[in-house]
Symmetry: D2
């Protein structure tokens, strides 16, 4: 099982649960987004201003979710987040959602750093790269 | 029963239905918004560009919903819309949502016309007022 | 300004903010629902099981929102909740959403207690009524 | 470029667009779900009753999205759907979302057929398999 460098709790809302009594499959991407937002805050670069100040403008280019189980109404979930890879212009977040230490949902979100005008990709700024690497290595040392 | 000057069909999505098997109460405001969007298109002032060109910038100041029944998954609803009142700087939309001619939901959305910078209210532009009045009186003549 | 007997914090998510940079008007009903859910938990009757055990099955019959201001992305809002009235078969929640002690949103949600089979209204069970009255009077004493 | 055996139009709603002026990444899974719902209807097995009558109970086990572009408010999108693979107990839907013949979004949704009680996978019923194969081969003949 993967370990995540950052964790954030989230309680499932009534409006997020469908007729089968489980969270609608697409809402997990909202949960991923909440977890990643809190990750940026935790490393000192709150989204979007901190990220923009570091010279970055991020666009989602890929999301992937594997559903091992289902979250239900009122569950208090743990959202685990880590950055698994930083490429030249992209970065890959891995996210895992657990309930009572049982992994329900596992996935990834890939962002590309791009110019907001041209939408052409450009290198991830050093400030962002270093902040992430520093946070991830500190977490690895404590694991 | 009220008559509406404009009608738009909408099919209930799986993600909009809750554990009780009915549409979550807040989603009806999204349905209202869809109906009002299509109303603007129908009168020749598509939102937001047509409305902005007419000199208006609209902000919601009040919403009200009375729930007489519940929509369910896959229902094809009729969204009825009409403008009930245009004041100096505000306008009131009345919306009714029906299934097979049974009124399930009835409500209103009040907008105020405001300056986008200061958020201070200002008079509804004549172009907007006339387009609405023309549409509503034509509908009344056909009712 | 009203005082509320219960308060719950909520951070605005990216997915809840629209193109104008403000929370979409319908999402406040989700926030109301989150606040009311936590209210039930606070009085010892978590929704829906605690409420059902007390003999109640609640349906929303009316919602009302007055928008005085707009919440924005990442705002940490205070959701204030109180029960303003319990009738024979209905109860009225009043909800206020504030940011830094400025009231942005004010509204109400009216529920009717009904038989889940027939959907006919029936009296609010004493257990529910007493739990709410006890909580509200305790809050009033501390206000 | 892939061809899809089924197409369904969908207009982007105001509430689905974020502060960047583009559809929030998670909402595409709602769009996928709408497209797949209409696919089931098109092959004569409307979800969930037609699918249940055919002996199937489907659970999402994987979703994947590649984002090539972004949909914006009021865009009328084309949702293309096809079943790319039917395994013993699973089936893979491929979905493509286009605007004016430009492919913006491409993805897949994998379902497993499972017993609603035990959640153990079981073979896709023949009725379902045949309905899909018939529809896909007819579409291929017309491509």
């Amino acid at each position: 099982m993967k370990t995540y460098s950052f964790h954030h709790p989230l309680r499932v809302r009534w409006a997020e649960v469908d007729r089968q009594g489980i969270v609608f499959n697409g809402h997990y991407l909202t949960y991923f987004d909440v977890g990643i937002t809190e990750y940026w805050r935790a490393i000192g670069l709150p989204y979007p201003d901190g990220v923009a100040d570091a010279g970055s403008d991020l666009y989602v280019v890929k999301t992937l979710i594997n559903y091992h189980g289902s979250a239900e109404y009122d569950d208090v979930l743990d959202i685990g987040v880590r950055v698994a890879r930083i490429g030249t212009s992209s970065m890959t977040f891995e996210v895992g959602i657990s309930l009572d230490n049982e992994l329900l949902i596992e996935g990834e979100v890939v962002y590309v750093n791009a110019d907001p005008e041209t939408r052409l990709s450009k290198p991830v700024p050093d400030k962002l790269r270093h902040a992430i690497e520093h946070f991830e290595s500190k977490a690895a040392a404590h694991a």
